[in-house]
């Protein structure tokens, strides 16, 4: 008899516990599992492979830093530093162009239709292949391209300007277009979320447009700005289209190194380079966050919310 009673108790407590495993909880577990499998595991694998010894197409399971030594040779250090510099400069340019544009898009346009059209126009180029989009610059920047023809016919120069194409300048230019929307989107969203009344209140209290931008709009847009920098800079680190098509072999970026290493079947080397990049990205993100938190302690709580 007592066994039956115990069973009954167990059944009751089971019923009571049931609602705790809700749909929401299930979804969280599922998403976390997918994230671990799809994002975390490959990155961990990257770190593991980078410290293994290559043995033909397979690995010898003994720990070594040989891959790092192979990868971190002088010319590759130069490539890494150049990549970081190009990415930093282009990201900054994107911000200087994208921030005013995002503010105008979010607060300057009253017509909803015009806003939608511009947002669509911002995305449309992405239906084109990145290579096709980028190679167009050749016919504009080349020695008998649009710009040089114009300069020659006006008489500003006697010989074509050669640094326009196959140069760092061309790579910078080629990177600006594709990454403009990834800077604009998050900033546009966070500026859109700022209540118009706050901007009016600032003006009402005596602020000029620039003062309102500095004291009200920018602090409230910080989450979007940080997201814009990350969304722009991180994918740009892996871009190989602009440097391949517009660098002319003179402006090698890190993405090309990956191609080279994988083509040479140096998988541990590629993994080591990837690991270095991942660490660099995480370090940069942490530095940005640290700087922001300490620059404006008032925004600390919001940034923490965002990063958690």
């Amino acid at each position: 008899m007592s066994v039956i009673v115990l069973d009954k108790d167990a059944a009751v407590s089971h019923l009571q516990r049931r609602p705790r495993v809700s749909l929401e909880r299930g979804a969280i577990i599922l998403v976390t599992a997918l994230w671990v499998l799809g994002a975390l595991m490959p990155i961990l694998a990257l770190f593991v492979i980078s410290v293994l010894r290559a043995k033909g197409l397979s690995f010898d399971f003994s720990l070594t830093l040989q891959a790092y030594r192979d990868v971190l040779v002088d010319f590759r250090l130069e490539i890494i530093l150049r990549t970081l510099r190009v990415v930093a400069v282009v990201t900054l340019i994107e911000f200087l162009l994208g921030y005013p544009f995002a503010i105008w898009l979010a607060k300057g346009i009253r017509s909803g239709l015009a806003k939608s059209i511009i947002l669509v126009l911002l995305v449309v180029p992405f239906f084109l292949s990145p290579a096709a989009r980028t190679i167009v610059w050749r016919s504009i920047l080349g020695n008998d391209g649009l710009i040089n023809n114009l300069l020659l016919s006006v008489g500003l120069v006697d010989t074509p300007v050669s640094w326009l194409l196959f140069s760092e300048f061309a790579v910078h230019l080629g990177l600006i277009g594709p990454y403009f929307p990834s800077m604009v989107w998050p900033i546009f969203i966070s500026v859109s979320l700022i209540d118009d009344e706050l901007i009016k209140a600032s003006r009402d209290l005596g602020a000029t447009g620039l003062q309102t931008l500095w004291y009200v709009v920018t602090p409230l847009a910080v989450p979007g700005i940080v997201a814009g920098f990350l969304f722009t800079a991180i994918p740009m680190l892996g871009d190989n289209v602009a440097s391949t098509l517009l660098g002319g072999g003179r402006v090698a970026l890190i993405a090309e190194s990956f191609d080279d290493l994988i083509r040479a079947m140096n998988f541990t080397g590629a993994a080591a380079l990837g690991a270095i990049l991942v660490v660099a990205v995480i370090a940069t993100a942490l530095i940005i966050r640290w700087v922001l938190v300490h620059l404006d302690r008032n925004n600390g709580h919001r940034l923490k919310v965002m990063s958690s």
């Binding site: 209540d195 009344e197 706050l198 009016k200 209140a201 600032s202 003006r203 009402d204 209290l205 005596g206 602020a207 000029t208 003062q211 004291y215 009200v216 602090p219 409230l220 008032n298 925004n299 919001r302």
Partner: protein
């Protein structure tokens, strides 16, 4: 200092704000028709009206947050501010939802206008603290906005606007976002704050009760025009038009024809019955034969056997319980009249006589829109 008293006396006479011929429209809809308004120094003026009457637009135009389409005159303290942007006008707005900066502390919010004027930090802090104590928020300087209750946010918004020493404080339905109890407290606080600071207040509201209890003067607005401008008592007991009478809470409004004028009183024919009422429109403007309205408040309608004043036989309807009182509708020759009772009268016959004093009944000419 010797010269200042004369200047003060001079400026004390001139209105703080003079508006003339203000027109504004959104697309095809004209929201302000030729508004002219003078606001006296230190007065509490209320722009009262239903939604869509243009009262908030007028307030935003005074603040400079919106530019009128046409304006003949706009003087603030004697200076032309017609094309001055909002940040160059010494007026400040308390927004309906307060519009406090969420990324700043209470103190930083209050100091904002002083910071823009490059006032040094210690001086800023001193003035912010004294303003916070004026709105009874002493010690809340370092609080975050999200930690405050609705009433406290309201007071931060007031302090933020008042700290810059504005010529006029503009309040855009500031009590609308508060609950009933808080609203009554804030009404009293606003009156005290005005007294303590001496600043001119212009308040926008759709609540006649708020307007009557707080203002020195009320501008009743309707469809972009000022329907009636006067003291709360003027509007409350002498509404000039049918719209004003209805908006100021006259429950019983009848239409009729003016038969004769007897001094201040008018004899009005309503549906065959005759009633006496006090003329609120200028006597000269009213002539026998004119279509007029007659209005009487429910609390001034009495059940009375003595036939004094206006008296009419009535059939009682079902009482409606309103908490503090009962409203009883009566069908009469004049139409349905509502009478108000503190307690349900006992032994009230089904058929009875109701009376109201001619002094309490206002009679005025019907505008073109009242004639159907």
């Amino acid at each position: 200092m010797e010269g200042t008293p004369a200047i003060c006396a001079e400026s004390a006479r001139s209105p703080i704000l003079q508006l003339g011929g203000v027109w504004h429209s959104y697309g095809a809809v004209t929201v302000l028709h030729n508004i002219s308004l003078h606001v006296e120094r230190g007065e509490f003026l209320t722009l009262l009206g239903p939604s869509g009457s243009g009262k908030s637009t007028l307030l935003r135009i005074i603040a400079g947050l919106e530019n009128p389409q046409k304006v003949a005159m706009m003087l603030l303290d004697g200076m032309d501010i017609t094309w001055a942007p909002a940040n160059e006008r010494n007026v400040s707005t308390v927004f309906q939802h307060f519009a406090l900066f969420p990324h700043m502390s209470v103190g930083e919010n209050v100091e904002y206008s002083l910071k823009l004027r490059r006032i040094p930090a210690p001086e800023r802090r001193r003035r912010a603290e004294s303003m916070l104590s004026l709105v009874r928020l002493t010690g809340k300087y370092d609080r975050r906005i999200y930690q405050l209750s609705g009433g406290e946010r309201q007071r931060v918004a007031l302090a933020r606007s008042l700290v810059m020493g504005p010529d006029i404080l503009l309040l855009d339905e500031p009590l609308g976002a508060l609950d009933e109890r808080l609203r009554l407290d804030m009404q009293r606080e606003l009156i005290e704050l005005r007294r303590a600071t001496g600043v001119t207040f212009i308040l926008v509201t759709h609540s006649q009760e708020e307007a009557v209890s707080m203002s020195d003067r009320i501008a009743l607005m309707r469809a972009g025009t000022i329907e009636q401008l006067g003291s709360p008592n003027d509007l409350f007991s002498r509404p000039q038009t049918e719209f004003a009478a209805r908006f100021m809470g006259f429950e019983n409004v009848m239409h009729g024809i003016l038969r004769a004028k007897r001094g201040d009183l008018a004899e009005v024919d309503v549906g065959g019955a005759t009633l006496l009422g006090r003329m609120v429109s200028k006597s000269a403007a009213m002539n026998p034969g004119d279509r007029v309205f007659a209005a009487i408040r429910a609390e001034h309608v009495e059940v009375d056997c003595q036939r004094t004043g206006n008296s009419v036989t009535a059939v009682r309807g079902d009482p409606i319980y309103k908490g503090r009182y009962y409203d009883i509708p009566f069908s009469t020759q004049l139409g349905t009249l509502i009478a108000r009772f503190g307690e349900l009268p006992v032994n009230l016959a089904c058929k009875t006589n109701i009376t109201f004093s001619p002094e309490r009944c206002v009679v005025g000419v019907l505008g073109p829109e009242g004639i159907h």
